[in-house]
Symmetry: C2
Subunit: 201 residues, 2 copies
DNA sequence: TAAGATACTGAACGAAAGTTCAGTAAACGG
DNA sequence: CCGTTTACTGAACTTTCGTTCAGTATCTTA
């Protein structure tokens, strides 16, 4: 790879990085191309040289994020023994990797906008992937006898809800990583052990 | 109140109602004034006759929603004996009243947009109110001995996260009320009793 | 080193959306 | 019953934003 290609890739990365932060912070619609140029120093035209459109740029980010996150999980997964440890590891990775599912809010916003779009498809796939991931996590705890038996599919929904919500809260109150880690850890503890002293239906 | 004032108020309500649905469904930016005119039959000018601006309309809706929800909670509150029942009642009211905190997503979206706005203030107040509400709920359970002792402030954050996340999930998968109720009920059960068979740190 | 490819600029365009306003019709009040 | 206020219309404006494109500079390669 020669000098030109290298620099080109660097600017593409720089644009993507800046765009990601802006989309996470402000949402899809509220982030303008000009915001991105301001954050990168690049020109409008240059963004359209590297990406087909605003939508294309967003699509690229969705792909990148999902891929990266899952890779990192694979690397860490073997460290955890019990299902409870896995759960905590899961939460920790969510926080460390960019304060959680950072694009989902922007993605949801997009989702609401148009009926016809690649993004709709991609989002459905992503959500399905997350739910399956959560379900596997929970099911493995049940199989090992560590968790109570139950409907792992529905519990996956609850877990996904908790993760999405905590993500939003952490981002909004722009808390630091340590605070966020503490909150997530507490959330997982509650998820495992509950609030109540004695079992209650 | 004469005929004219009555009809005026009705149209203002009609506009507010339509706008609320659209904001919830599509987000703040994505719903245009023209969308609202299409949904109401009113003209653009008429919306600006009843509301100062798009932002003002949104502000009005935030106020209205928070006020209404809390009133309904006050009406129901006395029905619940234990803290666990309160918790379930809380979840149920969230689902029934318009599939949860319906404007928060749009509000967050707005929040990201401008630094300088009434909405920022209003949102902070709202979030603080919710956290206090949650904390009271949890603290009362601790005081009565029904819940384990713990940091009710931090647990309030976890509860808020769960509620926000579930709200988003329910809205996205446009599930019906019964499904949503089931998911919320399960979530509260997990919150109370946990997933794990035996206590685990 | 010269020709061509690549990376990038920024002004201009068109569509979309928020806002305004002169005008109209209906209701109110004296 | 007539002047005035109120509720409302819709075309016009202003701004914003995504997108395009002709032009420029830099690097590659032969």
């Amino acid at each position: 790879m020669n000098k030109k290609q290298l620099q080109s890739e660097q600017t593409r990365k720089r644009i993507a990085e800046a765009a990601r932060h802006l989309f996470v912070q402000k949402g899809y619609k509220a982030t303008s191309i000009e915001d991105i140029t301001a954050a990168t120093g690049s020109s409008k035209g240059n963004i359209y040289y590297h990406f087909k459109s605003k939508e294309g740029l967003f699509l690229y980010l969705l792909d990148e994020w999902d891929r990266d996150w899952f890779d990192k999980w694979r690397d860490k997964q073997h460290l955890y023994g019990s299902a409870a440890e896995k759960m905590h590891g899961f939460a920790e990775l969510l926080v460390i990797e960019d304060l959680n599912h950072p694009l989902t809010q922007a993605a949801d916003e997009f989702f609401g906008g148009e009926i016809e779009s690649d993004i709709m498809e991609k989002l459905s796939v992503m959500t399905a992937d997350h739910l399956r991931f959560n379900q596997d996590l929970i099911q493995s705890g049940m199989d090992s006898g560590e968790f109570k038996a139950g409907d792992s599919a529905k519990l996956a929904l609850v877990l996904e809800g908790l993760v999405i919500g905590l993500s939003r809260l952490s981002r909004r109150s722009n808390s630091n990583i340590d605070e966020a880690l503490g909150t997530y850890r507490l959330a997982v503890d509650v998820l495992l052990n509950g609030l109540a002293k004695a079992p209650h239906t």
